[in-house]
């Protein structure tokens, strides 16, 4: 209860600390405005025009369906990657042999550019939802796998021995020892994967789909409509910023706080 209250009273301070980020973003907008003044509206429309176009897209109802389609594909691919990557990564982490064996495979997966996977996916799945979902999955999987692997490998051996010696029940071992530690590694990996998924899905849609933000980008590009292109980009980035800073970053801070305490406790 006190934990919850401390967390709740921390919310205003967290939100207030966002002003620093907002200041940086305004500086970016100023640079954008300056670049637009130099290069002209055809190359780079000014922020005001772009946001007006975005507002027009939202008002006309054109934006939400496309964003929803894109979000569905990204979320499906990401969910599959989280499920598979976390499970397999933890399993691989338990066994020294498995983790040794899997490392080169992960390197191969990480080293293959997503665009290559996209081409394969287009051959396998055609113009269906399967193409973006598969590409997202394959781009996110290795990131999460490595996070899970490291989380499991770095588990404190002494604590595990203590738990075994005192015959802690499995449930307690799982929820009080293993999970908190592993999650503190897994969660940042999930957040990285979320960013990746959102970027990759747009790319996949651009080349393979008839709907979604990526497809809308392809259309605005073919119309040479820079303002609409930037408006869609702004929509994608703003969605990601909102999800990341309002939802995930606070949770991440909590978890990292836990990890900091752990290392400080270890040092003391």
């Amino acid at each position: 209860m006190t934990l919850l209250r401390a967390w709740l009273t921390g919310i205003p301070a967290y939100l207030w600390s966002g002003w620093g980020a907002i200041a940086s973003l305004f500086l970016l907008l100023a640079a954008w405005e300056g670049a637009s003044a130099v290069h002209g509206a055809l190359i780079l429309p000014d922020p005001g025009t772009v946001f007006a176009t975005l507002a027009g897209l939202v008002d006309s109802g054109a934006a939400w369906p496309e964003l929803a389609v894109t979000a569905r594909r990204a979320a499906t691919g990401l969910a599959l990657a989280i499920a598979a990557g976390s499970t397999l990564g933890m399993l691989a982490g338990i066994s020294m042999t498995a983790s040794m064996m899997s490392r080169p495979l992960v390197t191969v997966l990480l080293g293959t550019p997503p665009i290559a996977w996209l081409v394969l996916a287009m051959l396998w799945f055609g113009a269906s939802d399967g193409t973006p979902v598969f590409t997202v999955f394959i781009a996110c999987f290795p990131v999460i796998f490595v996070g899970a692997l490291q989380g499991t490998r770095t588990l404190d051996g002494h604590l595990r021995e203590v738990a075994t010696v005192y015959r802690l029940p499995l449930r307690m071992k799982l929820f009080d020892l293993y999970l908190p530690h592993v999650v503190s590694y897994l969660f940042p990996a999930w957040i990285t994967a979320l960013g990746t998924s959102w970027k990759v899905v747009v790319m996949a849609e651009l080349l393979s789909s008839a709907d979604g933000v990526g497809a809308a980008l392809a259309v605005s590009r073919s119309h040479l409509d820079t303002a609409a292109t930037l408006a869609w980009i702004a929509a994608v980035v703003l969605t990601l910023l909102t999800v990341e800073y309002l939802l995930l970053e606070p949770v991440k801070r909590e978890l990292e706080g836990w990890r900091r305490q752990e290392t400080e406790g270890g040092a003391a």
Binding site: W16, W19, F26, L27, A37
Partner: protein
């Protein structure tokens, strides 16, 4: 022995550098606003100067009122920060004469010319005198204080030196424009930005003492720190906006930068979220300066980005609000402390701060559609005038009189063994 003639160096007026300048600042604040109110409300004439009445108003309040306060603050605070000997009375009197010459020169700068606002022979000479006087004042401050700031082993306060040196630039620019007949107002706007930076710098020093002593009074640990990164971000944003405003006034790019400055100032406020101690009178007044500054830049940014009215309103939140309130604070805190008196705990001090904030908000409200502009302007100047008149009423005897605690100069409250 103490002398009754205020020109004589043994008069208590010259005991410490802030005394003549703080008094002059308050007299200027009240007097200038009375003249301005008379002009706006009743068409009473103002001295004819290059650029016209609005330039007179801005020039006098910035280079008259605010510069006097800056001089008084720098002459007193920098020796204290750097732990060096107080500035002797003689150069202080010289600097004060320069300040007076600056007023006289500028006020007479329209003389001898046929048309109002033009520059004629006599007027040009007066303008040149004013230019030299203002530059001499800033140069004298730098000459007196730079060695102390540079020799300080940690050089913690060197930023004050840069800010003082930077002040000479808009002064030189203003008079160069005025002498060549160009519209000089842009230099005054740039000075506002510089003063904002100077306020952020000065308040970070003052706030450490004020907020921590408020925390101590409440029995909490005095762990408030004015940390540099947030402050530097705010300073960078303000500087960028000031440059953009100078180079391309009225453009949207300046609007985004002003919004960045507002956000950075809000960010800076998070240092201040120390719980209930913030609501003690002194921390709250200092916090109000940041709030008004953020609001001012926010309004300027909004006006420029959306293309709506409100630039002048935002600017007056900065000048009436942030400059007025911070100077009022310094006049009250340093003004009493270096006379050997504890802070004034009577009600007129926070009441004055509230009225000043009110004056800024009322002035800003003129930008609202359908606002009764004349009434609001008159109210705002009356509020401002009354605050500084009240300050003079309470504080002038202290600043112009001898110290009652046996102190002989600038030293703070003398601890008596009990």
């Amino acid at each position: 022995m103490l002398n009754r003639n205020p020109v004589n160096l043994s008069h208590p007026l010259w005991l410490c550098g802030f005394r003549p300048f703080f008094l002059a600042a308050a007299v200027a604040a009240a007097g200038l606003m009375a003249l301005w109110g008379g002009f706006l409300g009743h068409g009473l004439p103002l001295p004819a100067v290059p650029g016209g009445p609005f330039v007179w108003h801005a020039h006098e309040l910035i280079f008259g009122f605010a510069l006097a306060a800056v001089a008084g603050f720098a002459l007193t605070a920098i020796p204290e920060f750097t732990d060096t000997a107080p500035v002797p009375a003689q150069p202080v009197r010289l600097l004060f004469m320069l300040w007076l010459a600056g007023r006289a020169g500028f006020w007479l700068s329209g003389a001898g010319s046929g048309e109002v606002g033009g520059v004629g022979g006599l007027g040009a000479a007066a303008l040149a005198v004013a230019a030299l006087a203002h530059l001499g004042l800033v140069g004298g401050l730098v000459a007196l204080l730079a060695p102390r700031l540079v020799k300080d082993p940690e050089r913690k306060h060197l930023s004050f030196l840069w800010a003082l040196l930077a002040l000479a630039v808009p002064i030189a620019g203003f008079y160069a424009d005025a002498l060549t007949g160009a519209p000089p107002a842009r230099w005054l706007h740039a000075t506002i930005g510089l003063l904002m930076i100077l306020i952020v710098l000065a308040l970070s020093r003052i706030s450490m003492r004020i907020v921590n002593s408020a925390l101590e009074e409440r029995g909490e640990s005095p762990d408030y720190r004015a940390r540099p990164p947030k402050r530097n971000l705010a300073i960078v944003c303000i500087a960028l906006y000031t440059v953009a405003e100078f180079l391309s006034p009225g453009e949207r790019i300046g609007g985004w930068l002003a919004l960045a400055a507002a956000a950075a100032l809000c960010h800076l406020q998070s240092d201040w979220h120390v719980g209930r101690a913030l609501f003690r009178r002194w921390p709250l007044m200092l916090f109000g300066v940041y709030l008004l500054m953020a609001a001012g830049y926010g309004l300027i940014g909004f006006a420029l980005v959306s293309g709506s009215d409100g630039l002048s309103a935002g600017r007056h939140l900065l000048t009436v609000g942030a400059i007025g309130l911070s100077i009022y604070m310094v006049l009250n805190i340093a003004g009493r402390m270096h006379c050997g008196q504890p802070p004034d705990e009577r009600r007129w001090v926070p009441a004055g701060a509230a009225l000043l904030a009110g004056a800024a908000l009322v002035r800003a409200a003129t930008a609202l559609p359908g606002a009764p502009v004349a009434l609001l302007l008159a109210t705002s100047s009356l509020l401002w005038l009354s605050v500084f008149a009240a300050w003079l009423w309470h504080m002038a005897p202290l600043l112009a009189g001898p110290r009652r605690d046996g102190g002989t100069g600038c030293e703070g409250i003398i601890e008596t063994a009990t």
